[in-house]
């Protein structure tokens, strides 16, 4: 059995971590969360992936969710409520169980903001990224491509603010083709590498896209 302390973690992090643990071979996972939405989304995940689900209140707004692979008390394991959901990618699973998270999708295609003075633009993009961390609803995704890929790699002083964003639940992606072109793929310091198919899918599914 594995226990996950997800107190203070916003969705979809509890769902992602619990799903990873179950897929890694755990028969039973308990998850402590501190909001009802996380309980509901974990229940959707359990239904979708065919796990037994139970929860209890721990007081002070905290809840403990239990996920089981095998039936309890002689019950049969429920079948997946959503056909084929166990085969979903993590990105698809988050959308299926947590719904599209609020927040804009930001596409950054260069390492500076605006045109006219590139030196100034390099400072402005840093201020822009910091400002994203101060939003009451952080972006759903920030995607870096072309010269923007330099902002997510070792040595860039934008990395600490991007890590702050990531801690707030924002997904950070860097175009793998671009990082490869610049020879910085191995120096990725925050977020994950992705490809153009995934980038286009994220943009197509986004409620709001801001392109820099």
């Amino acid at each position: 059995m594995k226990h996950l302390d997800m107190l203070g973690q916003p969705c979809p992090i509890p769902v992602i971590q619990a799903r990873r643990a179950m897929q890694a071979g755990e028969d039973r996972v308990t998850v402590d969360v501190d909001n009802e939405v996380a309980v509901q989304n974990l229940e959707k995940m359990a239904q979708g992936e065919g796990y037994r689900f139970a929860w209890e209140g721990l007081g002070e707004g905290r809840f403990r969710v239990e996920l089981h692979k095998n039936g309890m008390q002689g019950d049969q394991s429920p079948k997946s409520a959503v056909e084929g959901t166990a085969q979903l990618t993590e990105f698809e699973a988050v959308n299926a169980y947590c719904g599209p998270r609020p927040g804009m999708t930001v596409l950054i295609g260069q390492d500076h903001l605006g045109e006219g003075a590139e030196e100034l633009g390099r400072m402005l993009i840093k201020g822009f990224l910091f400002s994203l961390t101060e939003l009451p609803i952080p972006p759903r995704q920030v995607i870096f491509l072309n010269g923007g890929a330099h902002l997510t790699t070792e040595g860039a002083n934008t990395v600490p603010d991007l890590r702050t964003l990531e801690q707030k639940g924002t997904e950070i992606y860097t175009c793998g083709t671009c990082a490869n072109f610049f020879g910085i793929k191995e120096k990725l310091a925050v977020g994950t590498i992705t490809d153009m198919m995934n980038i286009v899918r994220m943009l197509a599914e986004a409620a709001d896209v801001v392109s820099i």
Binding site: M123, F130, E134, N157
Partner: protein, 89 residues
Amino acid sequence: MEEVVITFDATIDAIHGEKLLAEAGLKPLVMPLPSQVKAGCGLCLRVRLEDGTRACELLCSHGVSQAGCFIRRLGQGGSTYEEWWEGSL
């Protein structure tokens, strides 16, 4: 979390200041001028609290003028800024 925020009268000083502090290994971060802070141009530099004094001294010794220094505290309700001067650390 606490850090020192340095504001500048001119944007060019913020740009020069970032290079200077980076070369000195102080790992400055950039942020826009927060609405709670009235002094300075639109860009600020942030350094670790323990690097605040050294950062200000370096800027002064290289003729990069500062508009002000503040301590940024990040709490549950967002960031707060308190005017800082060298003697308060």
